[in-house]
Point group: C2
Chain length 334, copies 2
Amino acid sequence: MPANGRSRRITIDDVARSAGVSRQTVSRAVNDKPEIDPATRQRVLLVAQSMGYRPSRFARGMVGPGLTTLGLVIADVLNPFFPEVVSGVLAAADERGWQVAVYSTGSALERETAVAETVVNHVDACIAFLLDPGAIELIRRSGMPFVLLDNEHRPPAVSGGRIDFASGMRQVVGHLAERGHRRIAMLDDRGRPDAGDRGTRHSLFLGTAAELGLPADESWVFPAANSLDGGAAAMDDVLDTGFGATAVLAYNDLIAIGAMRRARDRGVRVPEDCAFVGCDGLTLSRLVDPPLTTLTVDKELLGRAAVRQVAAQMTGAGTGETVIEPRLVVRASS
Amino acid sequence: MPANGRSRRITIDDVARSAGVSRQTVSRAVNDKPEIDPATRQRVLLVAQSMGYRPSRFARGMVGPGLTTLGLVIADVLNPFFPEVVSGVLAAADERGWQVAVYSTGSALERETAVAETVVNHVDACIAFLLDPGAIELIRRSGMPFVLLDNEHRPPAVSGGRIDFASGMRQVVGHLAERGHRRIAMLDDRGRPDAGDRGTRHSLFLGTAAELGLPADESWVFPAANSLDGGAAAMDDVLDTGFGATAVLAYNDLIAIGAMRRARDRGVRVPEDCAFVGCDGLTLSRLVDPPLTTLTVDKELLGRAAVRQVAAQMTGAGTGETVIEPRLVVRASS
DNA sequence: CTGAAAGCGCTAACAA
DNA sequence: TTGTTAGCGCTTTCAG
């Protein structure tokens, strides 16, 4: 019960008794039904208000169709990638009259199972950024409509949404190669357990570099925590290993910006000494100095598309996948 | 019911019948109760799964204590102010085992009533950034625990959380005055209906300026849309009116950054020709060029404090107010 | 270990 | 216009 904490909940019967009417009449008054004497309504409403009566969501949901609650699991609202996705999801859910419950894993893999368990019990459908196979399986098994985003290991029975980084990496590495870069370092997100797996930015980078005849291998990839500080620390590694990179490609804009700032602080000229390229196309990337070249992704669209897929599943459609095409935006950092 | 769309919902009775047991046994299996034969559990679970059975949230909430859903109404997730508040709310709500449903008004005053109506019907408590008195009254009357944030016109019966901009403006204007600035323009958020009212940044700016003997009046305040572009457009106004401002104080960092960029684009040197100061202390403000001087606010704390107040109301405590103290962070823009 | 009965708070359908 | 009856799907007694 909406945590009254203290005493027993006040029910429609309490109000009915206190107002000297039947509970039906109370229901009519509260729900603004036409078939009730305005005077009665007024009186009942007053009593209800004074008693602090609030209809139970649960009892109502029990009778009527109830509200659809969509669970949205993200890693961290403070990572500027997610608010844009959230925005798309909120808008699309609102159009359908759904409520959105937001859950954050705090980018902690070990918390994913707990979040998944909560989700399974408290929402009607789920859109999630999740990496732990156990957590994913938990939600899948629940049978609720489920869309998994940004995960290359999506089980076949689960719908998904992803960004076409194969195309993206071609654009990015191609751009750097055109600019004459041969020694390109990559700053990967070390928080992801799928590092290096097929389809990840990491492996696509290596593959594309090889295709273009660039000398890149695992030693060209540096793990970074997914944050500005993480990017900065990884840039220290790049610089300190005497790697001689003339360009740095980061897993995302956050890491790229952190790295770029650290490089500048250490006397590296951008882009003359070293070029920087990010992924995601955060608003932020336009505002830093120098403005960051980035692989832009329509994150709101990703959110909207996910909601559309949830809706499709509710009408019985099968598993599907949405692929978002990224677009390289060249700015002064390269 | 959780929008099955197609046919009737599958109930516990359906499963019981199909598995040849009583619904009690199904309940035991599904809820992992100890008093059931492991073999039976297994069998029942299999049947349940194969039938796509999902227990009804509503029916469960009806019986047990149910989950508390906290409604969080913000203006716009894309405004980087809000994610930080959301982060604080999510964390504090999670600690209490509550679910958070996020609603966005899209910064549109005319949508507030509709959002308030939804909130009233579908959550157990509410934390909101709301400006329309009608919407606020709607939620207040519902009797649910309610905390109104960042609103100078909070009804006495409603709990609130706000930032101490009286102190803040003293810090900001004092700082600029110390630096020798006399002609200070303010870029106000034109979307707020309370512009100029007592307690707003607008009026506190004018009051503080007067106290310090600076020549500021209404004509020194320029309305700006709450966005980067809004700040840019307002800066055009400042520049074009030949106002001769040597410093610009903005309603928030978003507006300040937009204005600062526009100024630079038009050949104004920052801070030599014109200094810029924002409010809020967005992460963003540290990253732009030049880094922005800003009145930093602990936005996560604001969110956490709001949750704490909701919790207090649930245990029967009365109306309260949390005041967050802002802190000036001086950077290169001034 | 399993089943039968009772009731959570509400609204739709019907009766008065 | 108002009241009565019947459930919604589930879990918690209490019997077996």
